[in-house]
C-alpha cells in the first residue's frame, strides 16, 4: 500500500510544477494588461502606463517574473491581488468555505439520490421506472444551469415565497464569520432563526448544483450495476437463496462502486473549482466567480494562485480516490 501511495505522490510533483508554469504563461497570453483593462474611455498616457506596470513588477523579463513567482510559491507566498491589494491566500480562504459548503451539499444530494436511483434502475432494467429515470437523468444532464436556476427562483422564491432568492443568509441576521461555513456559524451565533435561514438559502443552489452530478452518478450507477448483475457470482449468490437486498448490498454494489467513486471524485474536483454559473445566479460568494472576475481584470496573482490551489486540491481528491480504489479493490492496490 505504501509503495502504491508513494508512486501516486511521485506523479503529483511534476504535475504541480506544470500547473505553475501553464497558469503563469496562459494568463499572459490573453490580450490586454491589468492597467489597460481597468481604464475607461479616457485611456492613459504611455509614461503613466509604464510606471504602473513597473509598480506591479510587470516590466521585468518574463523569466525573472516566473522565477520570482516560483520562489514565492515555495515560500508559501502567492502574491497580492492587483485589484484589491489583498494577499491572494487570504482572499481564497475567505471565499473557499462557501464553495466547500455548497459542493458538499450538492455532492451529498447527488449521492443520496443518485446511487439508490441508479441501483433501482439497474435492478429493474427496461421497466417504466428505468425509462423514467433515464429520461430524467438525461434532462438533468443537458439542462442549461442558468435557465434552471432562474426557473426555480421565479417559481419557488418570487411566486410561492417558499425559499429565499439568493445570498447565504437573510440580510437581517448579523452572523460573525468564525468558520466561514454559514450553517455552522449560524448555529454558533445566538441569533434565533439564523440556522434555519442559512439552510433555506442553501436549498435552491444545492438543487441546481446537484442536478448534473446527480444525473451522472445515477447513470453511472445503473450501468455499473447492470454489468455486475450479469456476473456469475451474482447468479451463485442468488442460487444460494440470498435475498435481493443482500445480493445487491453485499455482492453487487461493492463491486460496482469503483466507477461510481471515480465519477464522484471527478465531480468533486469540478465543483471545488467553483460553480461559476450557480454562484452568479445565487449571489454565492465562492471561488468560481472570483476567478472569472480575475480573468476580466487580468489579475495575474489571483488567477495563478487560485488555479494553483484548486488544482492542488483536485490532485489531492484524485489521490484520495486512487487510495479508495486500493481499499475497495485489493487487485488495484497490488498492481494486479
Amino acid at each position: 500500500m505504501l509503495r502504491y501511495l508513494a508512486a501516486r505522490i511521485g506523479l503529483i510533483v511534476p504535475t504541480f510544477f506544470g500547473i505553475i508554469f501553464l497558469t503563469f504563461i496562459l494568463i499572459r497570453l490573453v490580450p490586454g494588461d491589468p492597467v489597460e483593462v481597468r481604464l475607461g474611455e479616457r485611456g492613459i498616457e504611455p509614461e503613466r502606463h509604464a510606471a504602473l506596470l513597473r509598480q506591479m513588477g510587470l516590466d521585468k523579463p518574463l523569466a525573472e517574473q516566473f522565477l520570482g513567482y516560483v520562489a514565492g510559491v515555495l515560500r508559501g507566498d502567492l502574491g497580492v491581488s492587483f485589484s484589491t491589494q489583498q494577499p491572494v491566500l487570504r482572499e481564497f480562504m475567505s471565499l473557499f468555505p462557501a464553495t466547500i459548503e455548497l459542493t458538499f451539499c450538492a455532492v451529498l444530494l447527488g449521492v443520496l439520490i443518485g446511487i439508490p436511483a441508479g441501483i433501482l434502475a439497474g435492478m429493474k432494467r427496461g421497466s417504466l421506472y428505468d425509462h423514467l429515470m433515464m429520461t430524467a437523468s438525461l434532462t438533468g444532464y443537458s439542462m442549461p444551469i442558468f435557465w434552471w436556476g432562474l426557473l426555480l427562483i421565479l417559481t419557488f422564491s418570487v411566486n410561492l415565497h417558499w425559499t429565499p432568492v439568493s445570498g447565504r443568509i437573510d440580510l437581517s441576521y448579523f452572523v460573525d464569520s468564525v468558520t466561514g461555513f454559514m450553517t455552522i456559524d449560524a448555529l454558533l451565533s445566538d441569533e434565533r432563526g439564523a440556522f434555519r435561514s442559512a439552510i433555506m438559502h442553501l436549498m435552491l443552489p444545492t438543487i441546481v448544483l446537484a442536478t448534473l452530478p446527480l444525473a451522472v452518478i445515477a447513470r453511472m450507477t445503473r450501468s455499473a450495476m447492470l454489468e455486475v448483475l450479469g456476473e456469475n457470482y451474482i447468479r451463485t449468490a442468488r442460487a444460494k437463496g440470498l435475498s435481493a437486498l443482500r445480493v445487491v448490498n453485499l455482492h453487487a454494489l461493492r463491486n460496482a462502486l469503483i466507477p461510481i467513486v471515480t465519477v464522484i471524485g471527478l465531480q468533486i474536483g469540478v465543483l471545488l473549482g467553483g460553480a461559476i454559473i450557480t454562484e452568479t445566479i445565487f449571489s454565492w460568494p465562492g471561488i468560481g466567480k472570483w476567478l472569472v472576475e480575475a480573468i476580466a481584470r487580468r489579475d495575474y496573482p489571483v488567477l495563478q494562485g487560485g488555479v494553483l490551489i484548486i488544482a492542488s486540491l483536485v490532485m489531492l481528491v484524485n489521490l484520495i480516490v486512487d487510495v479508495a480504489y486500493g481499499l475497495l479493490n485489493p487487485r488495484i492496490r497490488h498492481g494486479r
Binding site: 490580450p31 483593462v37 489583498q86 475567505s94 432562474l150 440580510l171 448579523f174 460568494p285
Partner: protein, 531 residues
Amino acid sequence: MKAIFFRTAAAAALAVAMTSGALAKTMTYCSEGSPENFNPQINTTGPSLSAAHPVFNRLVEFERDSTKLRPGLAESWEISADGLTYTFRLRKNAKFHARNDFKPTRSFTADDVIATFDRMWRKDHPYHQVSGGAYDYFNDMGFHTLLKSITKVDDNTLRVELTKPDATFLASLAMTFASIHSKEYMDAMLKAGTPEKVDQVPVGTGPFMFVDYKKDATIRYTVNPDYFNGKQPIDRLVYAITPDAAVRMARVQAGECLLAPYPSPADLPRLKGDAKLNVMEREGLNVGYLAFNTSKKPFDDKRVRHAVSMAIDRDAIVKAVFRGTGIVAANPIPPTIWAYNETLKPYPYDVEKAKALLKEAGVGELSVDLWAMPVQRPYNPDARKMAEMMQADLAKVGIKAEIKSYEWGEYRKRLQAGEHTLGQYGWIGDNGDPDNFMNVLLSCSTARQGGQNIARWCSKEYSDLVEQAKFITDTAKRTELYRKAQEVFHAEAPWLPIAHGIVYHVASKKVKNYQIHPLGTPIFEGVDIDE
C-alpha cells in the same frame, strides 16, 4: 486578532444603531458588484465608489438629484478675481467616525484636507505607495498639474492655489475620489504598521459608518449618530452584492432588497406591472457617438458628414439596440447637464437628402471602415448590432462599410491614434460639468495623437468658446458660451451623436426620498422607509 477586531467593531457599531430602542430601520440595496476596497482615491469602478460614498463627505457636494453643487465639509468658499485662489471656510462640527481601534480626539480640520490631497499628490507622502498608489481620478482630472499649493490658514480655513484658472475645479472636488479622510486615523494606522487598513476599514465624517464587508456577499453600515447634517431616518444600510441583473430584480420582487439598480431591458415591462415596485428612470450622464475622422477624405467635407448623419436611422437603432433604455442624442452633452441646448434637434433620417448631399460633394462609390466597440457600455449596449444596422443604412446611400473591431485596450489605442474612418465611441461624465464633455472630447488641444478628440476635428470658433468657458466662474455666462459651442458642433457635425443611455433603478414602494443621481452613485442620505 483581525477577526476579533472586526467582530467587536461590528458589534459595537450595531449596538449604537440599536440604542435608539425602536426597531431598526434597515435599508437593503442589491448592488451590482464587489468593491475593490473602500478608498475612493485609489479606484475607479462603480461598485467601489458606491461602497465608499456613504462613509465620506467632500468639501463640496453634489445635490442629491443633480450635479449642482452645495456646501459639504466646506460651509462656504470665495474665489479670487483671477480665478487662481480658492478660500474654503470649513465646518467646525464634523466628527470622524469612532472605531474600536481608533477614537478621534478632535473634529475635522484643514489638516485632514491637506493629508487627503497630499497622499494623492506628493510622491514622498508616507501613504502615496500604499495599496498600489494609482490615483487615476486625481490624475485624470488634471489635479497633479492644476494644484499649486494647499495651505492651512487656520484650523477652519483652507487656501488652495491653482496654476491656472479652472471653472470645473469645484465640480471635481465634489467627485467621490476627493472624499476627505481623517489625518489622525492615517497617522494611527501608520504607527500601528497597518496603513492599508485606511483603505479597507474606512473612517469618514459621512452619514453612515462602515461596519464590515464579507467579500462578494454583503457590506454593512450603521447610521452615524453625530452626523453634522442631522441623524438619518434609517438605522442600518446593507449592500447585498448580486451581480446577475435578473436575480437582483427577483430579490426586489421577493422583498429581499428594497432597492436595486440596472434591470435588464427585457424585465422592464414585468417590473413596471408590479404594484409593489417603483421603476425609476433617468437619462445617464453619457453619450454614445460615431466619430467621423475629419483628417481623412472625404470626411473633411462637412456635406459628407451631414449625409452620413442623415443616412443612419437612429430611431431604429435606439429601438433595436437599447430596447427602451436610451434616447436619440442631438448634442455632445446629455440633457441632464445644465448647459444643454434644447433648441438643437437630431438630424432627420432622410436617405434621399443624404444621397443628394453625397452627389453634391462629388462622392461616388465609397468604401469605409466602421469600427464597432468590443465592450458593452451604458451608452452602447450592443455595438456589433449597432454597427450592422449602420452598415445596412450606409449601403442604401452607396457607402460600403466594413466592420472592424479589436480588443478594448487595442481599440482605444488605435482609435486615439486616428486609424479609423468611422469609429463608435462614447463617454461617461465624471463631474457633470459641460467642460468634461465639450472640451475634453472636441477641442483643438485634444485633437492629437493619443488625445480624446478622435474625430480629429479642430474648429477655432468652437475651441475658443469652450476654452473661454473653462476660465470663467459665472454659470450664466458659461451656459451661453456652451450653448453657442453646441450650435457650432451641430452645424459642423464632427460626430453623429447616437444616444444617451437611460439608467433604471427599481425600488420597493416603501422606499421614500430616493432619487437616481446622474453620476450613478446611490445616495442614501435623507432616504427613509415606510414600515
